[in-house]
Structure formats: structure tokens, C-alpha cells
């Protein structure tokens, strides 16, 4: 009985969906923290000079990409499992499910961490353009340096998910 229940819960499809959830979770977590931190800084700058709204908004948007990367991997996993698209849910073996779960880990973890630190960097950039609005390009490059690692994690997660044969 208990084995049946266990099989019901820990089957391959479930593990793959767990991976999709982890990707969306990690990326979304990092981005929401990061965009939040940047937004707080932006609001402070706007209090002084409302004309900078556009510029600060651009910077605030930068840490938002981790969430999108997470979504992207989750989406690809869902396509692969067949929960989206016409084919219907595929029955995955437990190893297959575990592979996909493992593939989701880079963007899950790196997305969460880099989202927050990119948010901090963006917030610092927002503080910078409060004083020197003409230097916005530089303020945008610093967060982009952080984002590199989210992009790399995205790439690895993508290649891994793509590589798992079903």
C-alpha cells in the first residue's frame, strides 16, 4: 500500500514538474526581491526629482529578468512533459524526472541569488543617477554584469532540459 502511494507521488512526471516549479520559484523569488529593492531606491529618488521616473524605471526593470528566465525553463519543462501543448501528459520514469529536476537547479538557485544582488546593484545605480542622470548607461552596465551569471545558468538549464531524452 505504502509503496503504491509512494509511486503515486514520486513518479517521474511529478519530479519533472517539481523541477518546473523550482525554476519558476527561484527565478521569481530573486526577481521579486531584486525589483523590490530597486523600487525602494527609485521611490526615494523620485521624491526628490519626479522627472527621473523613466530612467529609474529602466533600472528597476533590470533585475526582473531572472523571473523571466525561471518562467522560461518552467515553460520548456512543461512543454517537454506535455502539460502544455496538445500531446497530453507523458509518463516519465523516475530517472527522467530526476534529470529534469536537476536541470532546473541552476536557474532556480542562481536566479534567486543573482536577482537579489542585481537588485542591489540596480538600486545603487539608481542612487547614482539621482546625482548624475547623464551616466545612466554606466548605471545599467553594473547590473548587467551580475545578470551574466543568471544568463549562464539559464543557458545550462536550457541545454540540460533540452538534452534529456523522453
Amino acid at each position: 500500500m505504502s509503496i503504491e502511494v509512494a509511486n503515486l507521488v514520486f513518479n517521474g512526471t511529478f519530479l519533472a514538474l517539481l523541477g518546473a516549479a523550482a525554476a519558476a520559484f527561484g527565478g521569481g523569488l530573486g526577481s521579486s526581491l531584486g525589483v523590490g529593492v530597486a523600487g525602494e531606491a527609485a521611490a526615494g529618488v523620485i521624491a526628490e526629482d519626479p522627472k527621473k521616473f523613466g530612467q529609474t524605471l529602466v533600472l528597476q526593470a533590470l533585475p526582473g529578468t531572472q523571473g523571466i528566465y525561471g518562467l522560461l525553463i518552467a515553460f520548456i519543462i512543461m512543454l517537454k512533459v506535455g502539460i502544455l501543448g496538445g500531446a497530453g501528459i507523458a509518463e516519465l520514469t523516475i530517472p527522467q524526472g530526476l534529470y529534469i529536476l536537476a536541470a532546473s537547479l541552476p536557474i532556480c538557485v542562481v536566479g534567486a541569488v543573482s536577482g537579489l544582488s542585481q537588485g542591489r546593484t540596480a538600486a545603487a545605480g539608481i542612487m547614482m543617477i539621482a546625482k548624475r542622470p547623464e551616466e545612466i548607461a554606466k548605471a545599467m552596465v553594473y547590473p548587467a554584469m551580475v545578470e551574466t551569471y543568471a544568463v549562464l545558468a539559464l543557458l545550462i538549464s536550457f541545454l540540460m532540459v533540452n538534452g534529456v531524452a523522453i
Binding site: A137, V141, T148, L159, N162
Partner: protein
């Protein structure tokens, strides 16, 4: 091309021609005049000359400019004319400009009129505030029908006041009537903070009752200089307010009438700026009793124009080449196809005048990188068309124009890569064909579908990156050679070329098996030669033991080349991101299936989803394309730190005066 060549300029002339000469130089706009602070601290100079300049005139003109500014601002605020999306300068022929300024006194009058009207408005506004505050303080008492000036009769005391809203009014009433039966407490009204009370009591009891009331936090309220009941006064306030509103409308109407003068005031404003700058520049001149001295920089190509001007005013002048290694102001000039990317260079920092402008070298890469990261036919077309329309309908100048031009080109590159990868709003056509018509349809990519063959594209990205980096290294070598250090160019770039190319051939053959054994062998030799060369020469600028460790250290720099190349994987990753998000949007749109409802859901998902995707990914493509230039490419050779060429020209705000000679 690239960094415009500058020549040094110095001139001495007679005081009497100074003004006309400066006006002429300003029209030419090809000369930068230096500040003379350094010479004034030099005793040899300061014993002969003193600083010219007329601060009084400058500040008088500044005052007039700010008046004109205020007038324009007022007209803009109350005028009917729509604010343009982007503020641009009008192009105006010199003749028209001069013609308009003949009516200067009339323009000055209308400026003064508008300012007077603005002041009147401000007064009306503060009057309105005052009345409004009065009205608000009276409002709670509108139910109190005793005249407010009434303080009591011979025997009775009449008062009004407030207690905090936490006080219990019923209890207060009971206690008061307990104390003296003749006294009456009435609740006039309450709001979130206070209860408004009126109290009627015998004069003899006043003190006692006041003591009681004080325990409830009572505060007596009196209205000074107010007669009649509260509601009468409120009506009076309302009447005053409507009168003020009428007056305001009348004044605003008058301001709108002045709108026809706006163009002339703008001319006037800009003529003041020209005049002010001509006065201001005098602070950059040195003067004796009858002569003046200026020096600065002139664009080498425009030398003749400046010579002519100096000769016309009989000045003594010298135009010389800058000394070797001397810094000059930096002005970038590139062919029309490449000039848009100057904006990217400028956003980083201008190059040192003795080095090279990176713009012509990375422009093409910038466009291609942007295109690969967005890679969608429809997105690219939207960007190109939107920027093209803006460029055609607004008279943009400077950096803004360059940015829009650049995005227009980047849009074309996006379309190109979209076609290569088969993206049109992601997989919109496939989804629509499947959902609504039940047929299978895919756009065949001209090259590959990155979702299916990511590895091929990844390797392509690395190759593209390697070319980009090699170009950067090549520029480094060029700069070393130009600087007279060909050996440095060989050691720092040539050996690395050999080493890295060898490494690619050797490892490619050994691990990837893509090259024949012979080439792999050559690759191995090149790697070894390169590595040995780098170890031997890497520490050549160091002393002692540093010569050896320096060489090893610089060979270790191979890791940075590795990470530089890997960094270009973002081209693939971000390209995938835009494509996959687009297909997420399309899939969401197709969830309701076919039929009318399906079309409706699809339309909503399409509009919201794709606008979001285009916004976020165009931003990402812009930023990451910049990063690849700034970090990977510029890191190899670029030296920033040039001072921008700041010509003495007409820095007008509203009009650009077109002259025949330039």
C-alpha cells in the same frame, strides 16, 4: 574619420574688433576657447594682462533670459497648444530670425505682460487658498445659527469650542447640566477628530463650567473679524471663490491670447542666449588696455574659415599642430552609417585624443549582437518602423538622433536574425494555424531553429565573439605600433594570436576531431611557441624574479580569454529567452481554443504579452550588447578620458539658425 584632428590656435587683436570677431567665431562654431586661469597665475603673463569679462552684463542677460523662460513656461502651461512628445529645435533662416528680432521692444512688452499675468494668477491663487481655508474652518459650524461674533449677553455667556473625538459628549452634557441646570451644551457636529460644541451658561457659572470642560479637553474657538452666522459666511466665501475663479479664467484667457507671440518670444530668448554667451566668453580672454588675447583649439579641417575671420579683423594669429603626445579636445566624426553608434561610445566615455575611436569598429557588431538577442522579424520591423517614423516626424539632433538611428538599424538586424531563426512574434503563425485552422504550419528558418540546435548556435556565438575579441586585440596592437612600440604589439598581441589560434586548432582537433591530424599538430606547435613566447616576454617590464613570475602570470591570463569568449553565450541565451517568451505568450493565447472566444483571448494575450516581451527584451538586448562592447571589446584596447570638444557656438534652445556659409 574617427577622432577629428584639432589644431592649436592663438590670436591677438585690437580691442575694437573683439565683439565682431567673437560674433563671427560663434557663427562658425568650430573653435573652442580655453579658460585662461593658468596664464593668470603665471607672473610673466599676469604682469602684462588681466582677465577680460563683464560679469554685470552676463548677470543682467541671465536675468532677462530667466524672464523669457518664465513667460514661455506660463504660456505653455495655460496655452492650448499640445506639448510635443519630443522637444526639438526649429530650423530658422538667419534672415527670418533677424527680421523677427526687429520688433524686439514689442516682444519685451509681451514678455512683461505675460509675467504680470502670471503674477496676477499667483496672487489669485493665494487669495483662493486663503478663502478656501476660511471656508474649511467655518464648515463644521454651519449648523450653528447664532452669529459668530456673539459672545454673550448681560447675564449669559455664549461660547463655541471643540473637544477631541474621544471625549464622551453625552457624559459631558450630563455633568454640565448637573453642575448648573440653566446651562445648555449643544453638539453642532462631529468629524473624525473633533466634536463641535456650543455652550450657553450663566456668566456666574462660567468659571466652574470651564473647569469641567477643560477636563474633557475643551478648546474655545473664536472667529476674529467675522460677523453673521457661519452659514452666511460660508455663502460669502463661496461667492468670493467663484469671483476668483472668474478672474482666473479671464487672466488665463489673456495668457492664451499671448500664445501667438510664443514664437517671437522663443526667438528673443535665443537671441539673449547668443548675446549672453558672447559676453560670457570674454571671461576666457586676456586683455591689455587696447588689445586682447585668446587661445584654444580649432577643427583642423575648418582652419581656413577661421583664418579668414582673423584676417578680416586684422588679428595676429597662429594655428599650429599640437605637440606630439599633447591631449586635444575630442570630437567624434564617422560616416553616416556608423555615426549612430557614437552614442554608445559616448555613453561609455570619450576616447583619449591620442588613441582611437572605437565606433567604426564595433558598430556592425553592436547591431548584429542586438539582432541576435531579439531575433524576431516582427519585433525588428516594429522597432525599425517606429524609430523611422519618429526620425522623420521630429527634427532630432545630437545624441537623441543617434540613438533613434541606431535602434532603426538594430531593428533591421533583428529582422535579419529573425529570418535566420524563423521567428515572427515567436511562433505566432504556427500557433494560429494550429488553433484556428487545424493545419500545421511553420516558418522555415533560413538557417537553423535555435530551439532545436542550440549547440550549433552556441558555437557560432563563440566564433563571433572570438572575431570580436581578436579585432579588439588587433586595435591594441595598432595603438602600440602607432605609439612607436612594435615590440609590445608583437608580445602582447602577436604571441597571443599565435597561442590562442594554436589552442583552438590543437584542442579542436584533439577533442572535437574537427581538424585533420596535420593541422592539429601545427596547432600544438603554435600553442607551445605562443606559450613559451608569452612566458619569456610577459614579465619584461618587471625586475628580478618578477621577470619569470610575470611571464607565468600573463600566461594565466588565458582564463580571462576563456571567460571573455564564454560571455558571448548570452547571445544565444537571450535570443532563446525572447523566442521562448514569445511562444509562451502565443500558447497562453491559444488556451481558449478556436472560435470567437479563442480569437478574443488570443488578441488580448497578443497585445499585452508581445508588448511586454518586446519592451523587456529590447532593453535586455541594448544593455547586453553594450556590455559586450564595454567589457569584452573595450577591455582589450580602449583608453577613455578625452575631454569633449566644446565649441564656442550658438547654444540656442528653441531655434537652430541656418546660415548659408555652414
Amino acid at each position: 574619420m574617427a577622432i577629428v584632428r584639432m589644431k592649436k590656435l592663438a590670436a591677438i587683436g585690437h580691442e575694437s574688433v573683439k565683439h565682431d570677431l567673437m560674433a563671427e567665431l560663434m557663427r562658425l562654431g568650430v573653435v573652442e576657447l580655453n579658460a585662461q586661469d593658468e596664464k593668470l597665475t603665471d607672473e610673466e603673463w599676469s604682469s602684462l594682462v588681466s582677465r577680460d569679462g563683464n560679469e554685470v552684463a552676463v548677470s543682467r542677460l541671465d536675468g532677462e533670459i530667466s524672464k523669457a523662460d518664465l513667460a514661455l513656461e506660463t504660456i505653455e502651461r495655460y496655452g492650448t497648444a499640445k506639448k510635443p512628445l519630443i522637444r526639438t529645435r526649429r530650423a530658422v533662416a538667419a534672415a527670418e530670425f533677424d527680421e523677427a528680432l526687429k520688433k524686439k521692444s514689442q516682444i519685451v512688452t509681451s514678455v512683461d505682460e505675460v509675467i504680470a499675468l502670471n503674477n496676477e494668477l499667483n496672487e489669485l491663487r493665494s487669495a483662493e487658498n486663503r478663502v478656501q481655508t476660511n471656508k474649511l474652518s467655518l464648515m463644521p459650524w454651519s449648523g450653528y445659527d447664532v452669529p459668530l461674533e456673539m459672545q454673550g449677553t448681560r447675564f449669559a455667556e455664549v461660547m463655541i469650542g471643540v473637544v477631541p473625538s474621544v471625549a464622551e459628549v453625552d457624559k459631558l452634557k450630563a455633568e454640565v447640566s448637573e453642575k448648573s441646570a440653566e446651562s445648555v451644551v449643544d453638539l453642532i457636529g462631529s468629524d473624525a477628530e473633533q466634536h463641535y460644541l456650543s455652550i450657553l451658561c450663566m456668566k456666574k457659572d462660567t468659571e466652574e463650567i470651564m473647569d469641567l470642560l477643560k477636563q474633557y479637553g475643551f478648546n474655545r474657538v473664536t472667529f476674529k473679524g467675522v460677523e453673521g452666522t457661519a452659514s452666511e459666511n460660508i455663502a460669502k466665501c463661496d461667492k468670493e471663490l467663484s469671483e476668483i475663479a472668474e478672474k482666473r479664467a479671464a487672466v488665463e484667457e489673456k495668457i492664451r491670447n499671448a500664445e501667438s507671440e510664443k514664437g517671437n518670444i522663443e526667438f528673443f530668448h535665443d537671441s539673449l542666449i547668443i548675446e549672453r554667451d558672447q559676453e560670457k566668453v570674454k571671461a576666457r580672454m586676456l586683455t591689455t588696455k587696447r588689445a586682447f588675447y585668446v587661445d584654444g583649439w580649432v577643427i583642423a579641417q575648418k582652419e581656413e574659415l577661421v583664418k579668414k575671420a582673423f584676417e578680416k579683423y586684422e588679428c595676429y594669429y597662429e594655428i599650429t599642430e599640437p605637440e606630439k603626445g599633447e591631449e586635444t579636445p575630442v570630437l567624434l566624426h564617422n560616416a553616416a552609417v556608423l555615426s549612430p553608434y557614437e552614442a554608445i561610445t559616448r555613453l561609455y566615455a570619450l576616447p583619449d585624443s591620442r588613441t582611437v575611436d572605437a565606433t567604426p569598429f564595433f558598430g556592425f557588431f553592436y547591431m548584429m549582437f542586438f539582432g541576435m538577442m531579439l531575433a524576431d522579424i516582427a519585433y525588428g520591423a516594429m522597432i525599425s518602423i517606429a524609430t523611422f517614423v519618429i526620425l522623420k516626424s521630429f527634427r532630432l539632433e545630437g545624441m537623441m538622433k543617434q540613438m533613434f538611428q541606431m535602434f532603426c538599424w538594430c531593428g533591421l538586424a533583428t529582422m535579419f536574425w529573425g529570418a535566420m531563426f524563423g521567428g515572427f512574434f515567436g511562433d505566432l503563425l504556427t500557433v494560429i494555424a494550429d488553433t484556428f485552422f487545424g493545419v500545421e504550419f511553420t516558418i522555415t528558418p533560413l538557417w537553423i531553429n535555435p530551439l532545436e540546435e542550440p549547440m550549433t548556435l552556441l558555437i557560432f556565438c563563440f566564433i563571433l565573439g572570438a572575431i570580436h575579441l581578436a579585432l579588439g586585440m588587433g586595435l591594441n596592437a595598432y595603438l602600440s605600433i602607432k605609439d612607436g612600440r612594435p615590440f609590445d604589439a608583437f608580445c602582447d598581441v602577436g604571441l597571443w594570436y599565435i597561442f590562442l589560434a594554436g589552442l583552438v586548432l590543437w584542442l579542436g582537433g584533439l577533442i572535437g576531431g574537427i581538424f585533420s591530424a596535420g593541422i592539429t599538430q601545427i596547432g600544438l606547435y603554435m600553442t607551445v611557441i605562443g606559450a613559451v613566447g608569452i612566458i619569456l616576454t610577459g614579465g619584461r617590464h618587471k625586475k628580478g624574479i618578477g621577470k619569470i613570475t610575470g611571464g607565468l602570470g600573463s600566461l594565466y591570463g588565458v582564463t580571462s580569454y576563456l571567460s571573455d569568449v564564454l560571455s558571448y553565450s548570452r547571445l544565444l541565451a537571450l535570443g532563446l529567452a525572447s523566442a521562448v517568451i514569445a511562444s509562451v505568450v502565443n500558447t497562453m493565447g491559444s488556451l481558449a481554443g478556436g472560435g470567437i472566444l479563442g480569437v478574443f483571448v488570443m488578441a488580448i494575450a497578443f497585445v499585452i504579452g508581445h508588448s511586454y516581451n518586446i519592451a523587456i527584451n529590447a532593453l535586455g538586448s541594448f544593455v547586453h550588447s553594450c556590455r559586450l562592447q564595454y567589457v569584452e571589446f573595450f577591455g582589450k584596447f580602449y583608453e577613455s578620458g578625452g575631454e569633449a570638444f566644446d565649441p564656442f557656438n550658438e547654444k540656442t534652445k528653441y531655434v537652430q539658425i541656418l546660415r548659408e556659409d555652414n
